[in-house]
């Protein structure tokens, strides 16, 4: 009798086990890559530094709360340097999954270094926390293993730019547009989107110059002369930070005055661009208004001034610039933290379910986190703004489009 009761008790215990929290591991392993050198270092290091900053902060508090174990668990960041090389990145992404057996996989910054991770993560059925890889081809209905954390997907990111040119442009006298872009997933997709939005608008504007250049381009003097020959009313330049630096410097050096000029990184990495292009070279340039200039309501994580202060305290030497990418890295960290707090296990599909459950609910210093069904980020939209000198000669952002968030009128033509 006692034996039967003991057996029944043991069987009951076994059946009850699944509803209790599993044994917690000593640490949660987050695997990621960064580029300490090469072309993408300046966009990768701020993202990675922000992620590290969060890991140190959480570990100092005893770890991050993991619902699957109902307790705080320390984080171990397993990070390798891909040196901006996609082949090296491929090897290292594989290593993170197969050798290090990380619990969460986080991509390096930017579409170029995210691209190898997309296929590898999918092959290994590993959910990819895509930090800033916005390329349209990464997101499809048949790939459940990815979500974009901190940038709008490239297919919708340039909508405010195209909408401004097609809605407000004709009234200002903008009829001819030049489109120059770097031929990579990030800016190539944005160029396609700009073309599509302009074409679909039916507005009386025409693209008179449409050229792609290699991402490695560092000299635009001849190209600028070719654009000038087409007499455009507006010039859209879509490139990475080094492209923007070279393009804007060359525009000033050649003495060309384009009436309307857009560049991505003038707004995203303003400190870096100001150091290299100068205040004069950035004056009246149109760009995306970064979250640091917008006071988003926050329901999780630090607010912008708090994060900025912590960043300056942690990285006082200024070797890694504070900007859009630093905010993106911290936003990724917040999504991971919130995901772990709602996921009932570390199973990759459960992580996906948890990430998607945050869509529309999570409000960080980067705006509202919202995903479409493919994992593309559609919430953290950046308005179109213009860099205008203030009374002290410094640059300030003036949001000009959409009208509901505008803080001023566009200055056209560029003085």
């Amino acid at each position: 009798m006692i034996g039967r009761m003991a057996a029944a008790f043991a069987a009951g215990l076994m059946l009850a086990t699944p509803v209790l929290a599993a044994d917690p591991p000593a640490e949660i392993k987050i695997g990621t890559l960064y580029a300490s050198s090469g072309r993408y270092a300046s966009i990768s290091m701020p993202v990675h530094s922000a992620l590290k900053l969060w890991v140190e902060q959480k570990n100092a508090e005893g770890g991050v709360y993991v619902k699957a174990f109902d307790k705080k668990v320390p984080i171990k960041l397993v990070a390798y340097d891909d040196q901006s090389n996609t082949a090296t990145a491929s090897t290292l992404y594989n290593q993170l999954i197969t050798q290090d057996k990380v619990d969460l996989l986080v991509a390096d910054s930017g579409s170029v270094l995210t691209a190898p991770a997309v296929a590898i993560a999918r092959d290994h059925k590993m959910f990819l926390f895509d930090q800033t890889g916005t390329g349209a081809s990464f997101f499809s209905k048949d790939n459940p293993y990815i979500a974009l954390m901190a940038d709008p997907v490239s297919t919708i990111w340039p909508k405010p730019v195209a909408d401004f040119l097609t809605h407000d442009g004709p009234a200002l006298g903008i009829k001819k547009i030049a489109l120059l872009y770097s031929t990579n997933e990030f800016t190539g997709t944005q160029a396609n989107a700009v073309r599509k939005f302009i074409k679909e608008s039916g507005a009386p504007v025409e693209i008179v110059y449409d050229q792609g250049v290699p991402t490695e381009t560092t000299n635009y003097t001849v190209i600028i002369n070719n654009i000038r020959a087409k007499k455009p009313d507006a010039v859209i330049h879509l490139g990475y930070a080094p492209n923007d630096i070279a393009f804007l410097r060359n525009v000033n050096e050649v003495g060309v005055k384009f009436k309307w000029m857009f560049s991505i990184y003038a707004g995203l990495e303003t400190e870096l661009l100001e150091k290299n292009v100068g205040v004069k070279g950035l004056q009246y340039v149109y760009t995306y208004v970064p979250p640091s200039e917008l006071d988003y309501p926050v329901n999780f994580g630090m607010k912008m001034p708090e994060f900025r202060a912590l960043w300056n305290k942690t990285f006082p030497d200024g070797k890694v610039e504070f900007g859009f990418n630093a905010v993106a890295g911290y936003t990724t960290a917040l999504v991971i933290e919130k995901t772990l707090s709602v996921a009932t296990s570390l199973d990759q599909m459960e992580l996906r379910r948890a990430v998607f459950s945050l869509s529309g609910q999570l409000k960080t210093l980067d705006g509202t986190f919202a995903l479409d069904e493919t994992g593309g980020q559609i919430g953290e939209l950046t308005p179109l703004g213009q860099l205008v000198p203030n009374e002290h000669g410094h640059l300030k952002f003036v949001a000009v489009y959409p009208h509901e968030v505008a803080t001023g009128k566009p200055v056209y033509p560029r003085p």
Partner: protein, 306 residues
């Protein structure tokens, strides 16, 4: 557009002649491939950034400074590395590995020291001391573009091209009008015969190595103006382009590099004008073409028999 591309190509190409000439001098004399060439160029750029940011001087002052510093660095490095390399069975192959390693070390140390971000110098600072002369020669504003054939070009391009012509001229004077230069040409022609005739090959080689590095550093001073900005990782691309320019002109003939640079510059600007998406393939396409059609380079008469 064609005239603009041709003039821009000429200015750009003259600068690339300077970028490549040091690499070719080192190869011509020692038959070693300095894969860290671009990294010395990058270090020259950081000297210019330092001269501008810390001393608030015209970056042109960085030209003699960079040259002297890197001639000395070259002499020290030569003593440390090259004799052992020359004593090996296959110095050309081993030099590739050795200087690749050196390149990685330089990039890593520079990254630790200065970070990964792009750095540049305000274009108006270059040649500020020559502003009156520039205005007299080319007209326009003292800090604006220069006018050539009725077209506007960045003043920094004209200054870089002018310094490049002067530097190439000085290399010519060194090679053809000095005793050390004559000995250098003798070593370039036949190292073993030069040694047999009693020439101090080691001394000649050390001088060529130092001058080669010095020329790379001088080219680096203008890199922030020609490429928009520089980072510690800049060296790799610079080495590849230098190699294309050198092979195009003639491997082992430093003055052939001048022609190689101009051909490269003009070709690059023409491709950027008419087939912009393909511009970055140019160094490799030119390398393949020259190796297929004229393996000794455009001025290949004096190519070494390796």
């Amino acid at each position: 557009m064609l005239v603009y591309a041709l003039v821009a190509g000429l200015l750009f190409g003259l600068y690339f002649s300077l970028v490549g000439i040091g690499l070719n001098l080192v190869f011509g004399v020692m038959r070693i491939v300095n894969l860290a060439h671009g990294d010395f160029l990058m270090l020259g750029a950081f000297i210019a950034v330092g001269v501008s940011a810390l001393a608030a001087l015209d970056p042109l002052f960085a030209v003699p400074l960079a040259f002297v510093v890197f001639v000395l660095v070259g002499l020290v490095l030569y003593r440390l590395l090259v004799p052992r390399l020359q004593g090996s069975v296959n110095p050309e192959m081993l030099s590739i590995i050795l200087f690749f390693g050196l390149s990685q070390v330089i990039e890593a140390l520079t990254t630790i020291a200065f970070g990964t971000s792009e750095r540049s110098i305000d274009s108006s600072e270059l040649g500020a001391i020559l502003a009156p002369l520039r205005t007299a020669l080319f007209g326009g504003d003292a800090d604006g573009p220069v006018e050539l054939f009725g077209q506007s070009f960045p003043a920094s391009w004209a200054i870089s091209a002018t310094v490049s012509v002067i530097a190439i001229g000085l290399v010519y004077v060194y090679l053809y009008r000095t005793r050390l230069g004559t000995l250098t040409r003798a070593v370039m022609s036949r190292r073993d015969e030069a040694f047999a005739t009693g020439i101090n090959v080691d001394r000649v080689s050390a001088a060529a190595f130092g001058i080669g590095l010095g020329l790379a550093a001088v080219a680096g001073v203008f890199a922030p103006f020609m490429f928009g900005s520089v980072t510690p990782a800049f060296g790799e691309d610079a080495t590849v382009t230098s190699f294309a320019v050198v092979v195009l002109g003639s491997l082992g003939n430093p003055l052939g590099t001048a022609l190689g640079g101009v051909v490269y510059g003009i070709s690059y600007m023409l491709v950027q004008t008419y087939l912009s998406s393909w511009a970055d393939l140019l160094p490799y396409v030119l390398l393949i073409l020259i190796l297929l059609l004229r393996p000794s380079g455009l001025l290949g008469r004096r190519v070494r028999v390796a």
